[in-house]
Amino acid sequence: MLVAPIVEVKNLTKRFGNTVVLRGINLTVERGTVLGVLGPNGAGKTTAINCLTTLLTPDGGEATIAGYNVVEQPEAVRSLIGLTGQFAAVDEVLTARENLILFSRLLRLSGGAAKRRATELLTQFDLLEAADRQVKTFSGGMRRRLDLAASIVVSPLVLFLDEPTTGLDPRSRQQLWAVVKDLKAQGITIILTTQYLEEADALADQIVVIDQGQVIAKGTVDELKDKVGGKFCELRLANLEDYEKVKDLLSDMGEVIVGEMGKEGPIAIAAPDGANTLTEVVLRLESANIPLADISLRRPSLDDVFFSLTGHTT
């Protein structure tokens, strides 16, 4: 028997007045995997999530969660999902524990079970010490963790996370990533949107890149990286004046790519032969007496992927 993916989205469209925000999104998610929806601000990520979580009615297309249609069976869908929206939606003047008990009760846990579940979640999300403080005293990272905890009070079949780490400091981000990985290990299917390439890299099994309401690429992280080509040899010159000379010296090996920072930043050259290319570059420069500040071999970053797909950086 052919088994359908747990989330299936076909040709989803949505417009607000005259602005078309989603122009036919297609995606699928297999059970127990993490899908990273990657796109710059305004790409339509939140709109897509809102359609899938029954908050918005799409104009066209079809979306199902575990076979339930989001437009025709919204009640069923809501029983299967959890949503952590773009802004931490927890009550400021309630304590962390009160927030979690409220959501537990709303999700049909009995009084005692709600209290136990709240304590469990507070422990799991490292909030036990702050459990009885009002949320307004929380840091951004703590708020976000509480927010996430509130959406998995009852383990959902599919969890939606809309830009879960935007605005967090690096340490809080790391903590949140650990939590997401933990949820994945519990077998929860996760759809997460992000503007951060390294976030998709760290968390997602599959990635779809969307830009202006369209999917412009999809695949695993590695597949996307391969799309851009193999490895690069990246170098920094000790003296910037040498740039033209280097360009001439290496001209037969391929074009010298100047990065975002211009000639002052690192420059790169495609390295189809990996380490051999690097050795070759070092030898040529040494014999020409051109000093290097730094040289390395690297895989293309997701920034490169996005740049090559859309023509602009995130």
Binding site: A238, N239, L240, E264, A293
Partner: protein, 281 residues
């Protein structure tokens, strides 16, 4: 790290001294200039998002209309509505302005909280430009409201009969008094933990002061026990002063009392606010 050399002046002690001198924080002229700049920024924000300004102005105007409509026949039975409008308008302006003290206190609290204040303090500008700027822009806000209510009052029969000087006094006196009241709000804002605290502390005081004044009704309308309070209430004195200014009667005594009140408030709460402000952070 290779960076291109920026066009930096040589850093000998003389140039540094010149830089410091050029950006000197003190001095009256410098202080006034900085306060005006900050006030201008505050006013721009007010105008870009005028809901609060417009609603405050309309609200006091609507109070004028409604009280004229509902109380004229009670207070001055048998007479027309314009006589009562002439009586009520000064007080209606004062009342409208006094409601603003809460808003102003909250604005100042937001200045302190949203990082604007820190930024200003870290710049080589006059130390008190945040406070002074907020006061000045609030003054502008209040003047706009007095102007609105006077224009609206014109429609229902309010007239200046006291000449230019009287009119200028009519506009400035309530603004000066309200700003000195607003300093109480500033003092609370400096120590407050939330914007709600500011309004919770200020709000309950405004209403008794406005009710217990010769605002809606003349002194004879009050119960005997209340009359001594009412006559000594600064809001009464201010309303009387403005009435006299508008009708061209001698107002000097009341004007001086209000100015002295304002001065006292300024000295007391100005000092308290500045001291608390400097201790903050």
């Amino acid at each position: 790290m290779m960076t291109q050399k920026l066009a930096q002046p040589e850093l000998d002690p003389d140039t540094i001294a010149a830089m410091v001198a050029a950006r000197r924080e003190g001095g009256l002229q410098r202080t006034l200039h900085d306060i005006v700049v900050v006030a201008w920024r505050n006013m721009l924000i007010d105008f870009r998002n005028p809901a609060s300004l417009v609603v405050s102005a309309l609200f006091s105007t609507s109070l004028l209309f409604v009280f004229t409509a509902s109380f004229a026949q009670v207070v001055t039975p048998g007479e027309g509505f314009s006589g009562y409008a002439q009586f009520l308008l000064p007080f209606a302006s004062v009342q409208g302005l006094m409601f603003n003290t809460v808003d102003i206190g909250v604005f100042f609290y937001n200045d302190l909280e949203n990082g604007m204040d820190i930024r200003l303090r870290a710049m080589p500008i006059a130390r008190l430009s945040a406070i002074g700027g907020r006061l000045l822009s609030s003054g502008a806000r209040l003047l706009i409201q007095v102007a609105t209510i006077v224009l609206a009052g014109h429609l229902i029969g309010f007239r200046f009969q006291g000449g230019l000087l009287g009119a200028i006094g009519f506009f400035l006196l309530p603004v000066v008094f309200t700003l000195s009241l607003a300093l109480i709000g500033f003092y609370i804002a400096v120590g407050a933990k939330s914007a709600e605290t500011v309004s919770a502390v200020l709000n309950p005081w405004i209403l008794p002061f406005t009710f217990l004044s010769v605002g809606y009704v003349p002194i004879e309308g009050f119960p005997d026990w209340a009359q001594p309070i009412v006559t000594r209430n600064p809001v009464s004195i201010l309303s009387e002063a403005m009435r006299s200014l508008a009708s061209g009667e001698p107002a000097l005594q009341n004007v001086i009392i209000i100015l002295l009140c304002s001065l006292a408030l300024c000295l007391l709460f100005g000092t308290l606010t500045v001291r608390a402000y400097q201790r903050r952070i």
